[in-house]
């Protein structure tokens, strides 16, 4: 589903590469934790998959397409196959929960009846049934993140990218979010999650890929957060 072949990313000429010859294969339906300290290249990895950045060297394949040769007008089509969730939720404050999720479908031109049947379903799935009319500031952090996940997943993308989705949440709430991501993963969605949260990684026992200053230092199935444990 996602394949990196010797990918290097240098932001500024002469600077240390943010990613240094990383090769990685993520299969369809896998759940992968991307761990490593700040500045290790986790976010760069996700940005490359979203094609917000282009690789300086090497090749990136996402959903069967080589992103280096993908023309920019095809990028929106690529992004429709990827859901993305962030630490800061990125919700629209003046829209209700329903509208926030519906927005993702509206802007890719889905018909109204499709929106009105799909959005309640996905809100039910993330556990927000009955809160459709609330605005983001009336919700707890965990609920806001659920809205963000609903928005990312409403179009049923085959890939879900999460950039520290539990970074702003307390452990109990985080656990709820992880259960939700696990459920989404069980529907066949490939999930790649960048995180600092060692408890969660240790609990979930999924594949762990560790980055350190741009290099891949570990790729372990059913791994834990710290390599020394």
């Amino acid at each position: 589903m996602i394949r990196f072949e010797n990918v290097t990313k240098v932001y500024a000429r002469g600077a240390r590469p943010a990613l240094d010859r990383v090769s990685l294969d993520v299969e369809r339906g896998e759940f992968v934790f991307l761990v490593g300290s700040s500045g290790s290249g986790k976010s760069t990895f996700l940005r490359l998959v979203l094609r917000e950045e282009r690789a300086s060297a090497g090749r990136v394949f996402v959903a069967g397409k080589e992103l280096g040769s993908l023309s920019s007008w095809k990028v929106p089509q690529l992004r429709r196959q990827i859901g993305a969730v962030f630490q800061d939720f990125r919700l629209l404050p003046n829209k209700t929960v329903f509208e926030n999720v519906a927005f993702a479908l509206q802007v890719i031109g889905k018909p109204r009846h499709h929106i009105y049947t799909t959005v309640p379903d996905v809100l039910e799935m993330v556990g927000l049934a009955g809160k459709e009319k609330r605005r983001p500031h009336e919700l707890s952090g965990g609920e806001q993140q659920r809205v963000a996940i609903a928005r990312a997943f409403v179009n049923r993308p085959p890939i879900l990218l999460c950039d520290e989705p539990t970074g702003n949440l307390d452990p109990t709430t985080s656990l709820g979010i992880m259960r939700l991501l696990d459920r989404i993963n069980r529907t066949g969605t490939t999930v790649v999650m960048a995180t600092h949260d060692d408890e969660i990684v240790d609990q979930m026992r999924k594949r762990v890929v560790e980055l350190s200053t741009g290099s891949m230092v570990r790729d372990q199935s059913r791994g834990v957060y710290g390599s020394d444990r």
């Binding site: 690529l78 992004r79 927005f103 802007v107 018909p111």
Partner: protein
């Protein structure tokens, strides 16, 4: 869904930047009014030329008995001199420029004079001998006046050569200057309009960065993201251009047709129909302006 969504986005954008939107409308209104005025002035000149140039002729006035002109030293024009002048006008190098020549005798001139100034006290004092006999020449191309004037000017028996077009030149000069002035002001205002539209779109794009960020993330097409901004600028500019058309229409209707038209009636004036001829160009100009400014701005602020 798409259309409705885009329309609501445009509505939000226009309302959020209401003061900027109003200023875009006003600046395009003023600038396009100047553009339209310049166009109408040129149409006015064209109408006058069409109307008058058909009637005007070159008059070669022949010497009367009491002229003080140098070429009239020999007193009244003789039949010999007259034949000479006639021959010069018939010469092959002048012929192609002349459409028609006729001779107006003193008696004919006197009759015309009496008809034109009937009832004036000084007209009754004039005699046939005060009149000039003249050649009246209709030119094929009124611009070629100089060629014809040259062959007769300064000949014995010719008192003066007069191109009636000259009488209008001063008026046209004034109108041409006015056109330039209006055009110059229009150019300055158009620059202001482009800058203002650019700033408005930029503000609008910045204030909706969160939305556009999410749109990019979920895979909205570039067109879909940029269209509301482009249309915002285009709508504001179009409203401005429609106001300009309305202003010009009222101006022509009340100032030209109702006021000038009734007080100075012998001039063919521009009409509101002419305003309607200019109108599509003004609206098109507004849309092109807005499109150019938004393309320049958006390529920078809403990159995929």
């Amino acid at each position: 869904m798409r259309l409705q969504f885009i329309l609501s986005e445009i509505g939000i954008g226009l309302r959020r930047n209401l003061s900027m939107t109003v200023s875009v409308i006003l600046v395009t209104f003023v600038s396009l009014t100047f553009v339209g005025s310049a166009a109408l002035l040129q149409m006015q000149i064209g109408k006058m030329k069409d109307d008058w140039y058909d009637k005007v002729e070159v008059s070669v006035f022949l010497c009367p008995s009491n002229s003080s002109a140098k070429t009239c030293a020999g007193g009244e024009v003789t039949a010999e001199q007259k034949a000479d002048i006639q021959a010069a006008l018939d010469a092959p190098e002048v012929k192609p420029y002349v459409q028609k020549i006729y001779f107006e005798s003193k008696e004919q001139a006197f009759k015309a004079f009496q008809r034109q100034f009937k009832g004036q006290f000084w007209a009754s004092a004039a005699t046939v001998d005060d009149m000039n006999s003249s050649f009246r020449i209709k030119l094929t191309d009124p611009e070629k006046y100089a060629v014809v004037a040259e062959v007769v000017q300064g000949r014995q028996g010719v008192e003066a050569v007069e191109d009636q077009r000259r009488l209008f030149d001063r008026l046209f000069l004034v109108l041409d200057r006015a056109t330039l002035l209006a055009g110059g002001l229009a150019a300055v205002m158009l620059v202001a309009a482009v800058l203002l539209i650019t700033t408005t779109i930029r503000l609008s794009a910045l204030s909706r960065r969160r939305e556009t960020g999410i749109m990019r993330l979920v895979g909205a097409s570039t067109m879909f993201i940029q269209l509301p901004f482009m249309l915002e600028g285009a709508i504001a500019a179009t409203i401005g251009s429609l106001l300009a058309v309305g202003g010009l229409w009222l101006g022509v209707e009340y100032l030209v047709t109702d006021w000038l038209g009734t007080s100075v009636g012998w001039i063919p004036y521009v009409t509101t129909a002419d305003v309607m001829t200019v109108a599509p160009f003004l609206v098109a100009a507004a849309i092109v302006l807005a499109a150019i400014s938004s393309l320049v701005t958006l390529s920078r602020y809403t990159k995929v």
